[in-house]
C-alpha cells in the first residue's frame, strides 16, 4: 500500500514538474487583460478605453529589430518606437523627419544630414550621428539589405552631422530612408542587450515598448517626454490575429477597436452604427505571370492569347466582392512613376484568344500549361478562375499548388518546371525600384521575387538606369517604358489592386494613420469629437 502511494506521489510530482512552468510563466508575463462591456469601453487596464488603441494585425509579429524582421506587420509596431531620417509630406515630397535639422544630396552618391540636438531615446541616451551609422550599417546584408544594401559607408563628421555615402548613384535610396525598417536604434541599447534586444527595443519615437506577450500582443505606452507632438492614445496594443474570422469576432466583442477585415467580414460592420469601415489604398496587387524560361509561352501570340482569355474585371468582382480595384499597370496607382491611369485594363476577348492560338499553331492540338498557385485564399480563388477561363479558350492547365514556401522552393527557385503562375506583390517603399528591381531584374530571378525569370539585357539596363538616376523626369520615362513593355509582351497580366479595409469603433479616427505602404502611422490616431 505504501509503495503504491509512493509511486503515485512520484507520478504526481512528474506531472506537477511539467506544469510548474505554466503558473510561473503566466505570472511572469505582463498581460493586458481586457473585459468587454456593452458600451465598448474596455476596463480592467491601467488606461480607460478612450485612451487605449487596440489594433488587430493580420499576421504574426516576427520581431522588433528591423535587422531581422522587415515584414510590414512588425513594422507597424516598431514604426511607433523608432523614427526615420526622412518622411513623405502630403504632396508626396521627401522631407526631413522631426529628428533631422537639415538634409541635402551633395553629389551623386553622398547625402549629408544634420540631426537636431537634444533628442533623447527612451532610455535617456541622446541621439547622435553614431547611432545612425550603427543603425544603417548593421542592416547591410541582412533583411534590410534591399533598403541599405547600396550604402558603402556612413561618415560621422561630428556628434550630429554625418554623410551617407553610396557605392553608386541610386535615385531610389532616399525613399528607403522613409520606411520604418530604416528607423534609428540606440547603439548602446542594442550592444547592451545583445540577443535580448528584441524584447527591449529602444527608439526616439512617440511610443516606447512596454511588453510583448509572445504570440498574443505587443503593448506600447506613450512617451510623455517625446520631442514632438504627443499622440492622443496613452497606450497601443497590437494583437497578432492571423485568422480573418477571429479578427472580426474580436472587433465585434470589443476586444480590439481597430481591425483589418477580410472582404467577407466587411458586411458585418458596414451598417452597424457602432463601427465604421475605413478603406485604404495600398501598394499591393495580385497578378497573373508567365515564365520567361517556358518554351510554351515564348511566342508572344500565345501570351497575348492567354491575356485575352483573362477577364480581370470579373475576377476582381468575384474574388474581392467589389473591395478591390481592377488593375491596369504592373505598378499600383499609389506609387510614384505608376502609369496605372494611362495603361488600359487587360482586354477580355476570348474569340481573339482562340484566333491567336490558331495562328500560333494550336488549332488541332491543345495547349497544355503548368499553373502554379499557392494556398493563400485569394491566390487560390483567382487561380481557379483563371484556370476555368483558360479552359474556355481551349487551354488545359495542370495546377500545382501548395503553401507559398513550398511553391517558392519547388518551382520559383528552379524556374524551369512551370509555365504560368498567380502571384502577389506589395511594393515595400513608395519608390517603385524595390518592386521593379526585385521582380524583373535578372539578378533577382528565383524565389526572392523574380518569378518571371526575365533574362533581358535591355530591360536590365533600363532598370539599372532608372535606379541610378536622380532625375525624376528621366526615371518616369524609363519606368513608363518598362510598364508598356510588360503590357505589350504580357509577362504580367495585373488582375487587382489591393484595398485594405479597416473595421474601427465609431469613436476612433484613424484616417491620418493609414499609409499605402501598409506600415501605418498609429501615433496619429485620435478620437472623434
Amino acid at each position: 500500500m505504501r509503495r503504491k502511494i509512493s509511486v503515485l506521489m512520484l507520478a504526481l510530482t512528474i506531472i506537477a514538474g511539467l506544469t510548474a512552468g505554466c503558473s510561473s510563466q503566466s505570472q511572469d508575463h505582463t498581460e493586458v487583460s481586457q473585459a468587454s462591456s456593452e458600451s465598448g469601453v474596455t476596463v480592467g487596464n491601467e488606461v480607460s478605453g478612450k485612451e487605449l488603441l487596440s489594433v488587430a494585425l493580420s499576421s504574426n509579429i516576427g520581431g522588433l529589430d528591423p535587422k531581422t524582421t522587415v515584414d510590414r506587420y512588425s513594422a507597424n509596431v516598431y514604426g511607433c518606437i523608432y523614427e526615420t531620417l526622412l518622411v513623405y509630406d502630403s504632396a508626396g515630397n521627401i522631407i526631413p523627419n522631426t529628428i533631422v535639422e537639415s538634409y541635402e544630396q551633395t553629389d551623386d552618391i553622398t547625402y549629408q544630414f544634420k540631426l537636431k540636438q537634444g533628442i533623447q531615446f527612451h532610455n535617456g541616451e541622446v541621439l547622435k550621428a553614431g547611432d545612425v551609422k550603427f543603425s544603417l550599417e548593421r542592416g547591410i546584408n541582412t533583411s534590410m539589405n534591399y533598403l541599405v544594401g547600396d550604402i558603402d559607408h556612413v561618415v560621422v563628421l561630428d556628434d550630429y552631422e554625418f554623410n551617407i555615402v553610396l557605392k553608386s548613384s541610386n535615385g531610389a535610396f532616399p525613399a528607403g530612408l522613409t520606411t520604418p525598417q530604416t528607423g534609428i536604434l540606440n547603439e548602446k541599447a542594442v550592444n547592451e542587450k545583445g540577443e535580448a534586444y528584441q524584447m527591449h527595443p529602444v527608439g526616439t519615437g512617440p511610443y516606447k515598448f512596454r511588453t510583448w506577450e509572445q504570440g498574443v500582443s505587443v503593448t506600447l505606452e506613450r512617451d510623455d517626454n517625446y520631442h514632438d507632438t504627443l499622440p492622443y492614445f496613452k497606450e497601443i496594443v497590437f494583437y497578432e490575429i492571423a485568422d480573418d474570422t477571429t479578427r472580426a469576432n474580436q472587433l465585434e466583442v470589443n476586444k480590439v477597436n481597430t481591425a483589418i477585415l477580410a472582404s467577407t467580414d466587411i458586411v458585418r460592420f458596414q451598417d452597424n452604427d457602432d463601427y465604421q469601415v475605413v478603406s485604404a489604398d495600398t501598394f499591393g496587387l495580385i497578378y497573373f505571370g508567365m515564365n520567361y524560361n517556358s518554351e510554351k509561352v515564348a511566342d508572344v501570340k500565345v501570351r497575348q492569347a492567354i491575356a485575352y482569355a483573362i477577364d480581370a474585371e470579373a475576377i476582381t468582382k468575384a474574388a474581392y466582392f467589389g473591395y478591390a480595384d481592377t488593375a491596369t499597370s504592373i505598378l499600383s496607382p499609389n506609387l510614384t512613376y505608376s502609369d496605372a491611369d494611362k495603361i488600359p485594363i487587360n482586354e477580355y476577348n476570348p474569340e481573339k484568344a482562340k484566333e491567336l492560338l490558331t495562328a500560333a499553331g494550336y488549332d488541332d492540338k491543345k495547349l497544355q500549361l503548368t499553373l502554379v498557385i499557392d494556398t493563400r485564399s485569394d491566390v487560390t480563388s483567382v487561380g481557379t478562375m483563371i484556370k476555368a477561363l483558360l479552359n474556355d479558350v481551349g487551354i488545359d492547365c495542370e495546377v500545382v499548388t501548395g503553401d507559398k514556401t513550398s511553391m517558392s522552393g519547388s518551382y520559383y527557385a528552379a524556374g524551369t518546371n512551370y509555365d504560368i503562375f498567380v502571384g502577389t506583390w506589395y511594393c515595400a517603399t513608395p519608390d517603385v525600384n524595390s518592386q521593379i528591381f526585385t521582380t524583373f531584374h535578372s539578378s533577382n530571378n528565383g524565389a526572392t521575387g523574380g518569378y518571371v525569370w526575365m533574362h533581358n539585357d535591355e530591360i536590365d539596363a533600363l532598370i539599372e538606369r532608372a535606379r541610378k538616376s536622380a532625375d525624376s523626369a528621366e526615371r518616369q520615362k524609363l519606368y513608363s517604358e518598362l510598364q508598356m513593355f510588360v503590357f505589350d509582351n504580357k509577362w504580367w497580366v495585373p488582375i487587382s489592386y489591393y484595398i485594405d479595409n479597416w473595421g474601427v469603433s465609431s469613436d476612433i479616427d484613424i484616417n491620418a494613420c493609414l499609409d499605402a505602404a501598409g506600415t501605418h502611422k498609429w501615433w496619429k490616431a485620435t478620437v472623434r469629437n
Binding site: 509503495r3 512520484l10 511539467l18 531581422t68 539589405n145 509572445q214 521575387g449
Partner: protein
C-alpha cells in the same frame, strides 16, 4: 518498479535522437530556402547567399544536425530562430506551458464527463439514456474542434456576451477552448468506458459479487470499473499526446499562444532550430505521458504489478522483502 521507470527514462534519449534526426531530415528535404525566408521576399540573391553562410546552411546536412546536437548536449542551447533571432528556449518556455495547460485541462474535462456517463450508459444499456449518450458521443467525435469553437464563440461571446472569445489566463477565458477541444476526448472516453464496462459487468465474478449482497454502487464502481480501467487509461494517454501537438487551430481561434501555432509557423518558415526544439519538447512529453500511463497500469492492475515483480524489479525484489518483513523464500 523504480528500475523499470528509470529504464524507460533512459530509453527516452535514443528515442529523442531518432525523432529529432527524422524530423530534421524531413524538414530539410522539404522545398524552401530558410535563408531566403528569413530575409523575406525582396531580398537579393547576394544577401541570401550571405545569410545562408551565416546560418551554416552551406554545410552538409549531417554536419548541421550534429552541430545542433552538440550545442544541445554540451551547452543546453537549442539555438535561435532563423527569422527573429530570438532564443528557441525562450520561445518554447513562453508557448509550451499554454499548450500543456490546454491539452491537460481538455483531456481532464473529457475524462471527467466522459467516464461517468460511459459507466451510466453501460449500466443502462439500450435505454434512452444509453442511446442519448452514444448520439452525443457520435456528434462529439464527428464535429471538428474548430467548428465547435467558432460556433461557441458566435453564441456565447458574440451574441450572448457571456464569455470572452480569446485568451487563456482566467477561468472564464478557459471555458470555451477547453470545452471545444475537450468534446472529442469526452466522446471517445464515453464510448471506450461503455464498451469496456459492458465487457466486465457480464463476467461471472460480477454476478458472484452481487449474489454475495454487495451494493450495486460498490459492484459497479469498486469492482467492475476497476477492471475496465485499463483501456480507458490508454485512451486518455493517447488523447493527451494527440492534443499536445495538434491543437493549432483551436489555439489560433482563441488566440492562445501555444506550441501548435509556434510549430506551424516554424515549419512554414523552415525555421529548423525552432522546429527541432518544439518537436523535441512534444516527443518528451508524449514519452513521459506513455510512461505515466504504464505506471498507472501497475497501480490499477495487480497482474501487471506481478509482471514487474517477476522481472526482478528492485522495490519488490526478494532481498528487500526479506529485510523488511522477514519473508523467507520457499
Amino acid at each position: 518498479m523504480i528500475k523499470y521507470v528509470l529504464r524507460r527514462i533512459l530509453f527516452l534519449v535514443p528515442t529523442l535522437l531518432l525523432v529529432s534526426f527524422c524530423v530534421y531530415a524531413i524538414v530539410h528535404a522539404a522545398p524552401g530556402d530558410p535563408a531566403q525566408l528569413a530575409l523575406g521576399e525582396g531580398a537579393t540573391q547576394a544577401a541570401v547567399e550571405v545569410k545562408r553562410i551565416e546560418l551554416g546552411l552551406d554545410k552538409p546536412f549531417i554536419y548541421q544536425y550534429f552541430a545542433w546536437l552538440k550545442n544541445v548536449v554540451f551547452h543546453f542551447d537549442f539555438g535561435s530562430s532563423y527569422r527573429s533571432e530570438i532564443s528557441v528556449a525562450y520561445q518554447i518556455r513562453s508557448y509550451f506551458p499554454n499548450t500543456l495547460k490546454l491539452a491537460g485541462l481538455s483531456v481532464f474535462f473529457g475524462a471527467l464527463i466522459g467516464i461517468p456517463i460511459g459507466i451510466l450508459a453501460s449500466v443502462k444499456q439500450s435505454s434512452w439514456f444509453d442511446n442519448f449518450v452514444m448520439s452525443i458521443a457520435m456528434i462529439g467525435m464527428s464535429v471538428p474542434a474548430f467548428v465547435l469553437a467558432l460556433v461557441m464563440i458566435l453564441i456565447f461571446s458574440v451574441k450572448l456576451r457571456w464569455l470572452p472569445s480569446s485568451g487563456f489566463s482566467t477561468v472564464s477565458e478557459m471555458l470555451l477552448p477547453i470545452t471545444a477541444l475537450g468534446m472529442q476526448p469526452m466522446a471517445i472516453c464515453a464510448r471506450m468506458t461503455r464498451s469496456s464496462m459492458l465487457e466486465v459487468i457480464r463476467q461471472d465474478y460480477i454476478r458472484t459479487i452481487r449474489a454475495k449482497g454487495q451494493s450495486e454502487l460498490k459492484v459497479i464502481v469498486h469492482h467492475a470499473f476497476k477492471n475496465a480501467l485499463m483501456p480507458i487509461l490508454t485512451t486518455i494517454g493517447l488523447q493527451f499526446g494527440a492534443l499536445i501537438g495538434g491543437a493549432f487551430v483551436t489555439e489560433t481561434i482563441f488566440l492562445i499562444p501555444g506550441l501548435g501555432r509556434l510549430l506551424v509557423t516554424a515549419v512554414t518558415n523552415r525555421d529548423y532550430p525552432l522546429v527541432l526544439g518544439g518537436v523535441v519538447c512534444v516527443a518528451t512529453v508524449v514519452a513521459i505521458t506513455n510512461l505515466l500511463i504504464d505506471v498507472a497500469y501497475a497501480l490499477v492492475d495487480p497482474r501487471v504489478q506481478a509482471q514487474f515483480k517477476n522481472a526482478g524489479g528492485g522495490a519488490f525484489s526478494w532481498p528487500t522483502l526479506i529485510k523488511r518483513q522477514g519473508i523467507k523464500p520457499k
